[in-house]
Symmetry: C2
Subunit: 215 residues, 2 copies
């Protein structure tokens, strides 16, 4: 059965972004360090049209995560474009440039309606204004039997976890302290909503913890 | 060279104790779950005079941590007995009963002076009122070339980390959320003070991360 999946990097002290987040530094002070292990991987570089990069266990972990994904859900912040109504005089096409790396349907959760955006490479952005459950249903439909990935941010993932809809979760524990910032799963509280640790994979400057729904 | 070492269990969301800590529930709501992996181990049970328990990688990790320790430093809370002056009319001998499991010199950091306590099994408690550096010096002297362990609580470990005195640290990441409580390294901020991840060991319901001073 198709799954709702999610992965995120978290610091030792439980932060998914550092303190003092700004438009220039959206991940806050030190927050970029959470993703150092990712951006050097071959798979990540390929997906973003770059050559080279490292192979090995982290790259395998990343490839597993990208495998069999048929649609993505993300928050407005992850798509880009502030929090107010869209300015359609100068229609902003998000952070993702002219060739977004998804190559499938992306559902953006927002309070503000907007026409669907379509790209030549198969990526489309559909703007969903009636909540996370609706985005879930639309994404599952679009994925056609493949899995749906929550692309972020952490607040969106948090809402899906709290709603008990997440089937599989990869946490990448990065051995740094951020000392403040955005907390992992602030809404979900103390409840893993049925997810259990099923695998631990030590990597290079990161540890991958895989969680799945208990059987 | 003798090292100052420290180990602690931490939740996925970066807590070392849960919310709503009381005298009856000193680890807060859900906090006991952080130590489930420990209390079932053969090594832990032996140290506390009990038979049985599980072997395997977690037990080895625990045995490594207890190995070559010549003295222990702990906070007043870990020793037990409230936070005010000692009531010597009914002299409280701490949480540790008549046969504390240390069998070496323990240095208790407190604001309130008290005579040294000595037990038949080789354990003694010395009460140190002049700060963490003094406790460090006394413990290193008593350890006679073996290592010194910070027994807790987390606030004491945090102070030693912030002072740059910790040489080796084992973090046991437990795949649960506590949703609130005492933060790992609230004082040390975003600084690992020279400690680097050197080994990751997946265990049974826990992942051991070993940190050591970079060379």
């Amino acid at each position: 059965m198709a799954k709702l999946r999610f992965n995120i990097s978290v610091s030792l002290d439980g932060y998914v972004a550092g303190p003092d987040q700004t438009l220039e530094e959206p991940l806050g002070r030190g927050g970029e360090d959470l993703h150092e292990w990712v951006v050097k991987l071959r798979t990540w570089r390929e997906a973003h049209g770059m050559e080279g990069g490292s192979d090995g266990r982290d790259n395998e972990a990343m490839r597993d995560m990208l495998h069999n994904v048929g649609a993505t859900i993300m928050g407005r912040g992850m798509f880009g474009g502030g929090s107010g109504p869209w300015n359609m005089d100068e229609p902003w096409r998000g952070w993702w440039g002219t060739s977004p790396p998804f190559k499938h349907s992306v559902f953006v959760i927002t309070h503000h309606p907007r026409e669907k955006l379509t790209f030549d490479n198969g990526t489309s952005f559909t703007f969903v204004t009636d909540g996370i459950r609706s985005a879930y249903d639309q994404a599952m439909e679009a994925a056609g039997g493949r899995d749906v990935m929550i692309g972020g941010g952490a607040d969106v993932a948090d809402q899906y976890l709290a709603a008990g809809l997440v089937d599989e979760m990869d946490l990448h524990v990065v051995p740094i302290l951020l000392g403040g910032g955005s907390r992992l799963f602030a809404d979900a509280g103390a409840d893993m909503h049925g997810l259990e640790l099923v695998r631990t994979t030590p990597g290079d400057g990161v540890v991958h913890l895989k969680f799945a729904r208990g059987v």
